[in-house]
């Protein structure tokens, strides 16, 4: 296989880490909504935790994206 082709495929594979980030963000917001509908009065207190969870889940996927960028632009 050509090195350039392998590089592009590798970057594409690395970017699939964002699948997990998407699933994670969906779970976080879905569960927050479910909890908020059961007990709306407790929902605002958990909003910072929601944002924290969202940011952590998103960052995990972005680690993979960074690998993709490194493959594309550094090598």
């Amino acid at each position: 296989m050509e090195a350039e082709a392998a590089k592009l495929i590798g970057a594409g594979v690395a970017a699939t880490a964002l699948i997990g980030a998407g699933v994670g963000i969906g779970i976080i917001f879905g569960n927050y909504l479910a909890g908020a509908l059961r007990n709306p009065s407790a929902a605002p207190g958990q909003f910072p935790n929601l944002l924290l969870g969202f940011a952590l889940a998103e960052a995990t996927g972005l680690f993979g994206l960074i690998i993709a960028f490194i493959i594309l632009f550094v090598f």
Binding site: L51, L52, F54, A55, L62, F69, L72, V74
Partner: protein, 305 residues
């Protein structure tokens, strides 16, 4: 050959080379990338060539060069004196601007110290209360001695992130060395505070209670690794978010230009939404950095919980 590409549509920060590297700017727009000028002028040309090479892959046929915005430019070049770490770059400039803005904002906002605050004083108090509450919730009362540190970190990162959203501005936090330096300070602080507070007992952090004896060596090694990986995860999280966000904005900006007047409004509308998301992320990442600093500090302060 790639110099020409970098000089094309993707060359958004084109205004700066005049100040950054006069010779380099001219050489890049001239004809011969291989024939670099002699003497002091070569630095600029070589740097441009390297940057253009590094960034040239991603553009494809669209002429988008998403990495160009992260280029470090030296305004005061000290490489000839072997003092490159002291060179005054656009990164240093934007950090100085951020510090200046933060200082000016808080001094101006709090100048009256009125009991009934004005709007701008409420803004400063809101930021203070927000972080103070967060530190108190996460580290308890004795964690409040670290409040100035956490507040400084939060405001500094927040200003750097949001300043990066200004068109043509440089995003300092999109460079891993900056975020890593911030993260290693947090890591060292937590480690030192932990050992001062608990003595050698701080090592119990790696031995969770209630673990079966057979599993203990494995768990201890895992805990140690997860502790040592903290500065990396802390820095990469911030850096990756900033880098990915700005690359994404640049790529969609390239779509707007490529699709033109007829179809360009679709990616443009998407970009407006993305910009909103990026401003949210800019705030969120500063907040996450501060929260995780507090959580790590809590580990060091309250071992027995």
């Amino acid at each position: 050959m790639r110099l020409a590409q970098a000089g094309g549509t993707g060359h958004q920060n084109d205004t700066a080379p005049g100040t950054a590297a006069p010779a380099g700017g001219n050489a890049a727009h001239g004809a011969a990338p291989g024939v670099a000028p002699q003497g002091a002028e070569t630095h600029g040309a070589v740097q441009q060539a390297v940057d253009a090479h590094g960034a040239g892959h991603g553009g494809g046929g669209l002429g988008i060069d998403p990495m160009h915005q992260f280029e470090i430019r030296r305004f005061v070049d000290l490489r000839d004196h072997g003092l490159d770490f002291l060179s005054f770059t656009n990164s240093s400039l934007f950090m100085l601007i951020a510090v200046g803005l933060i200082t000016a904002f808080f001094i101006y906002a709090m100048r009256a110290e009125a009991l009934v605050p004005t709007r701008i004083q409420s803004t400063a108090e809101l930021a203070y209360e927000f972080i103070a509450k967060m530190v108190r919730d996460n580290t308890g009362h004795e964690g409040m001695q670290f409040f100035p540190f956490v507040f400084t970190l939060f405001v500094f990162i927040l200003f750097l992130n949001t300043m990066g959203m200004v068109p043509y501005a440089f995003t300092v936090t999109s460079h891993i060395i900056i975020t890593f330096a911030l993260a290693i300070v947090v890591f060292l602080l937590v480690t030192i505070v932990g050992f001062i507070r608990n003595g050698p007992g701080f090592l119990k952090l790696f031995v969770p209670s209630g673990v079966p004896l057979a599993l203990l060596p494995v768990i201890a090694v895992l805990e140690l690794i997860s502790y040592l990986i903290r500065p990396i995860s802390l820095s990469v999280r911030l850096f990756a978010n900033m880098l990915a966000g700005h690359v994404m904005l640049k790529v969609f900006g390239g779509f707007v230009v490529a699709l033109g007047v007829l179809a360009g409004w679709a990616p443009l509308a998407f970009m407006v939404a993305l910009t909103g998301l990026e401003i949210l992320i800019a705030f969120l990442q500063a907040f996450v950095f501060a929260v995780l600093t507090c959580i790590y500090l809590n580990d060091a302060l309250h071992m027995h919980h």
